[in-house]
Symmetry: C2
Subunit: 609 residues, 2 copies
């Protein structure tokens, strides 16, 4: 199948191939050797899907596009305060090679002009020139997701002709922004500009910025997430020099261009764009590159300020314990109690990237349902990430509800380790010491149900083995019939963890549980094992395979030492011949139980629909 | 319950109340009457939740915060081209009252400096001063969601002292940017600055921008969505004058401040912030206002460039027809065929705001599953919005699949009218003429299943009434038993649309369908009516209430003229006494059918879990 997205890029590429305005840069002689026809476009999503067309594999030197990345490395290695002391973040309104030092401090106005970039390069740590260069290459390679190297020919060409940049270096030394001899730092700056990349690399590097510093192809963190906003902010304000206002107005994405013909643009949280075509306009930007970004922004509606609000935020699904129950099989009295009082259990399934704005919807929902809420289950199964603010908001909600005597339960909170860290930091103790945490929504729901039932005076489950007369399946049987039925049963005993029924087995007995507790699972021990139901004494299991003679559809395991009495299919058949009235009553009771379970399953399906 | 979000704002408000730096503006004498202690904070989400603390109801004049809004109105009334001819979008790097005209054209550099704002005000249409003022007030009131008015005292004070702005007006007339006498436009500019607002109004206006021009409280469009990005772009580049770079670096939200002490900031797609406190710093920005925005950005992690990517995009849930089936009740042969070949039906439930970046995930999924896909159901039930790009991407996917002989079905596409418009525009004909559209996922799934079954050689449903011996429920009965059973049935006939069973009824017959087709519904005719199942001849319905004596849980309606044969509970009881072997066989068959349905329901639940 040809991807319609690739088709779109192919058409755009063909359309702009005819655009031959502009000139290849020659002020660094080696750059002049570029083929002016080279033209590549690469779009990489924050999810890691790559769409590329044209010459996306040709290597060229990164030039000024290196500036935001070295800025990111400088922030990571020195911290924000030290970096801001050396270089500002204010646009200069001037061209790329302007000196633009701040009156008084001598601080370059921003890291995107050469003066600021040289000041930034001075912050790359290392004992020797080689170790500083290694730090650079390691950082850039993490962004690109492959090992990058310096193009020595271009570097030598830059170094031979870079008089203006040497002058800037000395000016910075004069103002004390550089504290040592400027030459090694200026050389490092030439080296950063001479790192060899492809158009595809630019796309991946952009997508890494769109993905808060995590390379979406390698899943590795290229720069600490907290510094990505700094890098994008200076690209936003100063990335396109004296054209920044119009660029954001028209294209609406932080971007950076280089004189070798590359442009890198970032739509935060969504995607990265790399374009390469060597002919430049009078601002020093790739002519086709600009047109590609404008076309992508307009035709794909990518402008970062063209966004709609969302009402649902982090809430994927919300339901109460009156509508959906745990897999614990309930007696009819218990089921009725839960239907009446289950609304006091509120279950919220969360989703996506939890931030203040998306988590606010959860706080709002809790406030709205507050009077009706004794139990709140927050299920993190579908959450992709949580940030510190959202974690603190969850903390505030949880502790406040707890202080009011309400219960907050967390499920799958292992997906968001930051949440536990925030709780530990705030509480001074582990998360689990104060809050109830489950691996799945189902047992959390059961926990709440047990308490709702207890509060409504549900009888405490009898620890004595049930009498036959109390068993739902045997309802309506006379004393004599019960005795006859009892004679058809076999006693079976199981130790804790024993498998009573294994999925796929052909056997067809029906089990009446007399002592202990058993759970039904789907999935194997190793794969995703999920509890379907838990049974307590007096309940019946295994009846479905006995009835329809199909293989066992689930595994049943003893949660404790278990005593069952078992009705084989043969005994059941025999009952039909010898005592048809007993078999009719059993079948009626069985059908009723199945019917009740089916009604419940249909009700739950209506919630998820 | 006290909201933790409000608690946070309350603490922030208390903490910053002690900050008494700065001076109340006095250059317009009337502004000097403000109480320097006034302090309000209001956060409004794009979903319309309002959080406010302090003096959020005190009225003050909007001053420069009017500039982006008049810019929006000018764009709406004149179009982008005409507006850009009069005023640029490039930051000036200068203070708010700078004249900053572009060399050559005389065009003010941007609409946020006074010169640009006066040029913008000249574009507000109207025959008379009054009609132009009405246009202004109407536009601003839509943003605030309540009728706003001009503070005449402040307006007079501005008008009396506004010599510098009159000078700017004449300068603009000199350069031909204003084409008529400047005074009426300068007066209109004084009026726009004198519109009375509260801190809460600022919050709502900001949230309207965050919500792409739709006021989240009134749900009314205040400005065409396409111009919101223009407004936010100039706020981003020039909203905070010579402090724009640092503002975006630190706060990361497009914003605008005014000399009366207001600041309005927007986190696109998420929320709006209004702050009011009259003491100003040397840049003319509210001292506390700046601190509030910095604190909100840092503590709530609101920086617009601090975003993570999302892998799931617009895909809420994806499953195949092998896992989830339609509500059409199937024979066991049909069910087996669907289990084997249903993977050729792919159902994608979509969600959220569909844009290029979120919809790309759908294109990627389709490409990945392409070889396994004969039927694609796209369900728009959970979609909040779609933009043009996403609609075109869906169009490309759909037409390409169709050209390959595959089927694309749309459900609930009425939620996204733009989709139908894009298809109509591209196809030159209505959506429904080329594609299959359903109101719900369920019948769409059934449509696909029918075709999968037909392609796998499933027998064409017999149009003749079934014989008793072919009915699943009667499996295993001897010829003599069938005759006896037949004598216990009553014939009943229904016209098309007749209600055969009504939800809540106490009756307990079991129906065997002989001719025609019936459907099961939950919900009433007026409320949300949802089909649970459709039955064809030979199938049985109503058995659950007969078995468990509970009221009918759904409504069953004749889809066509229908003939049933009915077994009453009395007749069923009579059978048990007179012919127990028949009743045992019936109950066994019934239990098997229930058991099969329950297995299927549990399988479906596992998909949604």
């Amino acid at each position: 199948m040809t991807s319609p997205i690739l088709d779109f890029l192919r058409r755009l590429h063909a359309e702009l191939t005819d655009l031959r305005d502009g000139e290849v840069a020659t002020y660094i002689p080696e750059l002049g050797r570029a083929d002016p026809e080279w033209f590549g476009i690469c779009v990489v999503t924050a999810g890691g899907h790559v769409y590329e067309i044209g010459q996306t594999d040709i290597e060229f030197t990164i030039q000024s596009i290196s500036k935001p990345f070295v800025y990111g490395l400088a922030l990571e290695d020195n911290g924000r305060e030290d970096v801001l002391a050396k270089v500002g973040v204010e646009p200069s309104g001037d061209a790329f090679n302007s000196i633009s030092l701040e009156p008084g401090t001598g601080r370059p106005l921003n890291p995107m002009i050469n003066a600021g970039a040289i000041a930034t390069a001075s912050l790359v740590p290392g004992e020797t020139a080689l170790s500083r260069q290694r730090r650079l290459l390691h950082g850039f390679s993490s962004f690109a997701g492959r090992p990058l190297a310096i193009d020595e020919t271009v570097y030598n060409s830059e170094s031979e002709t870079g008089h203006r940049n040497r002058a800037i270096g000395h000016m910075l030394r004069n103002f004390g922004i550089l504290t040592e001899a400027p030459d090694p730092t200026v050389e490092l700056y030439f080296q950063q500009c001479s790192i060899s990349v492809t158009c595809r690399d630019l796309g991946v590097m952009a997508a890494t910025l769109a993905n808060r510093g995590v390379n979406p192809l390698t899943a590795k963190q290229a720069v600490r997430g907290e510094y990505v906003a700094d890098m994008l902010s200076v690209m936003n304000s100063c990335g396109m020099y004296d054209w920044a206002g119009e660029w954001i107005y028209k294209v609406g994405m932080p971007a950076k261009s280089g004189v070798s013909g590359g442009i890198l643009a970032v739509l935060p949280g969504q995607l990265g764009i790399g374009v390469f075509s060597p002919r430049l306009d009078s601002h020093g930007n790739s002519v086709r590159g600009i047109k590609v970004c404008e076309a992508l922004s307009q035709r794909l509606d990518l402008h970062m300020f063209n966004r709609r609000g969302s009402r649902q935020g982090a809430i994927r699904l919300h339901f109460t314990g009156a509508k959906v129950n745990s897999r614990r099989v309930r007696s009819s009295t218990e089921a009725a109690t839960l239907q009446r009082h289950g609304h006091r259990i509120q279950v919220v399934q969360l989703q996506g990237n939890m931030t203040f704005a998306t988590t606010e919807a959860v706080a709002h929902l809790v406030a709205e349902r507050h009077d009706d809420l004794d139990y709140l289950v927050l299920d993190f199964k579908h959450v992709l990430s949580i940030n510190d603010t959202a974690a603190r908001l969850v903390y505030e909600l949880a502790t406040q509800l707890q202080a009011e005597g309400r219960h907050v339960l967390f499920t799958r909170s292992d997906r968001v380790p930051l949440l536990a860290r925030v709780f530990r930091h705030k509480l001074g103790t582990d998360f689990e010491e104060r809050f109830i945490s489950f691996e799945e929504e189902d047992p959390a729901l059961e926990w709440c149900e047990e308490r709702v039932l207890a509060a409504r005076g549900a009888p405490i489950p009898d620890q004595k083995p049930p009498r036959l007369v109390d068993i739902d399946l045997l309802r309506g049987l006379t004393g004599e019939e019960l005795d006859i039925f009892g004679d058809h049963l076999e006693r079976q005993q199981f130790a804790e963890h024993d498998l009573i029924i294994q999925v796929g087995e052909e056997a067809g007995e029906l089990f009446i549980l007399f002592e202990g507790r058993v759970s039904v699972f789907v999935g194997s021990e190793n794969v995703q094992r999920r509890r379907l139901a838990t049974f307590s004494p007096g309940m019946v299991f295994g009846e479905m395979s006995m009835i329809d003679r199909s293989p066992r559809s689930a595994t049943i395991q003893a949660d404790s030492p278990v005593v069952c009495r078992v009705l084989t299919r043969e005994a059941f058949d025999r009952l039909g011949v010898e005592h048809p009235s007993i078999k009719i009553k059993l079948l009626e009771n069985l059908s009723q139980a199945l019917s009740r379970k089916l009604r419940k399953a249909n009700l739950e399906l209506s919630v998820f629909d």
